[in-house]
Amino acid sequence: MSSLLETRDVTVRYRQDGPAAVAGASARIDAGEALGIVGESGSGKSTFAKVLAGVLAPSGGEVQVKGRRWQEVKRRDPIRRTVQMIFQDPYGALNPWMSARETVAEVFRFWERQSRAQAVEQAEALLAEMGLSKGAMARRPGELSGGQCQRVGIARALACSPDVLIADEPTSALDVSVQAQILNILVGLRETRGLAIVLISHDLAVVRYVSENALVMYAGQVVERGPTADLLGSPWHPYTKILMDAIPGGTGDLKPVRNEIGDGHPCCFAARCPRLQADCQSLSEEAGPREGDRVAHCMHPLPERSEQIEQRAQ
């Protein structure tokens, strides 16, 4: 499998002397893969998504798309089409003065240099594939429902023939009945078009449904990653466990993110960690359990993990 998108030690600071919104995050997205990024509000998921999408230049580290550095890709370089994004706010993501048809047709006219009639024809076919009626295609975002707007956003992204679709909380602003439809569209696109999908969400059930791999972010850092089923089935990192326990009906008590980076402790979760011990001070990049693609950045993973590690050591 070839790597489509890859980040190494990405750091993002909105102000030069300010805290890091993303601190040393690394990820790799292969062709056809579905990767979920989870974490609570303020954990840096959306900022990381913007870095992956190439709309935000990182303060440090490197982002590569098909082996080329994002920073070196010019605005009109065709490789820009490779990565497209679906936004959280379906209305804000569309030009309020353009109809659904015009929004999608504009992409075909721009990239394929098609005539207006050809572009409209292709746009209508794509919108119909997304389940939009002829009548809805002529309407502007203000006259469409949230679900319809999200479908137009997906069609616009698909008009670029991308290899990776980054979906930043695509269902959080939608009605529950529409959420499943949009998620099914994403899953269907992966199967029919072989698209890689990066799904950013705070909803663990959504991530479990769409993606086979997941990253857990806390205070801008990736604290655990691995296959979604394993990661959510038996979390290693204490934060992943707390995140799962915070699902309504669970027993957890999730407090908001406090930026602990820069307080001198090598673990970003130290201030809230129930398993904090003196030797956590020696936490390094390489520290923590690893098993195949699964990694947790923790000196004292959950008990079942410690036992497994000890068993393996023996």
Partner: protein
């Protein structure tokens, strides 16, 4: 639910009625200003009757101190005031919107800061004082093309200040729009900056500046009339609403119509423009 829909519909109908009243009134003022001086039996500066004749069937608005027909003078004055307003507002709208959107969309921070500080400085000065100073610099006796003496100075002076309001509005709206997701989506698709500005930012910015332009028409008319009233605007004997009111100020007790009638016409024009602008802004919301 029904109540909500009915009340929203009723609000919409009221807005629509207000808009059409405004449009009707404004069109009437524009048509009278164009047609009366053309089809009238006498010119605006022609002495046609005895001085200070009260409004009557033969002279609908009465006559002034020299015996000139005020009906013709008021509408001839309206033509000049409207012409000045359309020229000033049209140019200010175009120049201000383009400068505002260019600075707002520019990634060069220094350019944005430079233009905005200049605009801040312009707006910080008292409006009328600055215009009076500019009129002195341009020369209030200067005439140009079909414009009578005093009019070019007013146009240039108001233009030099007025574009800055449009510039500030356009820049603010551009900054607000460029942070929206649909602009980010355009950048991700690979649209060049020129296309994003012209197709994605300009329509939204122009809606705001165009709505202000409608309201600005009456502000410019009032400014023109005020300058003429102060003696710094259009020179006698050219008919202009402000100058006609100025001529009647000393005889207000005996010949009220000389000052009051052009004042009422100006007020009705303001009302018409206000109704249109209000309806347009409500559509925006």
């Amino acid at each position: 639910m029904k109540l909500g829909l009915r009340s929203r519909g009723s609000r919409g109908r009221k807005r629509s009625i207000a808009l059409w009243c405004g449009v009707g009134l404004f069109v009437a003022v524009v048509l009278l200003s164009i047609l009366v001086p053309i089809f009238s039996a006498y010119g605006p500066n022609q002495l046609v009757a005895k001085p200070f004749q009260a409004p009557s069937a033969s002279h609908l608005f009465g006559t002034d101190a020299l015996g000139r027909d005020l009906f013709v003078r008021v509408w001839a004055g309206g033509r000049l005031d409207l012409a000045i307003a359309f020229i000033v507002v049209g140019i200010s709208f175009l120049v201000g919107t383009l400068i505002g959107i260019a600075t707002g969309a520019s990634h060069r921070r220094w350019l944005d800061s430079l233009v905005m500080r200049f605009i801040d400085a312009l707006i910080a000065f008292p409006f009328l004082v600055l215009i009076l100073a500019l009129i002195v610099v341009v020369g209030r006796d200067r005439s140009a093309w079909v414009l009578p003496a005093g009019a070019p100075a007013i146009i240039i002076a108001i233009l030099l200040i007025d574009w800055s309001i449009y510039g500030r509005l356009a820049r603010g709206e551009t900054l607000s729009l460029r942070s929206r997701d649909f602009v980010t989506a355009g950048q991700m698709i690979g649209y060049p900056q020129r296309r994003i500005v012209s197709r994605h930012l300009l329509p939204g910015v122009m809606r705001i500046t165009a709505a202000y332009a409608v309201a600005d028409v009456i502000l410019v008319i009032v400014a023109t009339a005020s300058l003429s009233f102060l003696g710094a605007g259009v020179q006698a004997p050219t008919a202009e609403w402000g100058s006609i009111m100025y001529e009647g100020r000393t005889v207000l007790a005996n010949a009220w119509w000389v000052s009051v009638i052009p004042g009422v016409v100006l007020a009705f024009t303001g009302l018409a423009v206000g109704l249109i602008a209000d309806a347009l802004l409500n559509v925006e919301r």
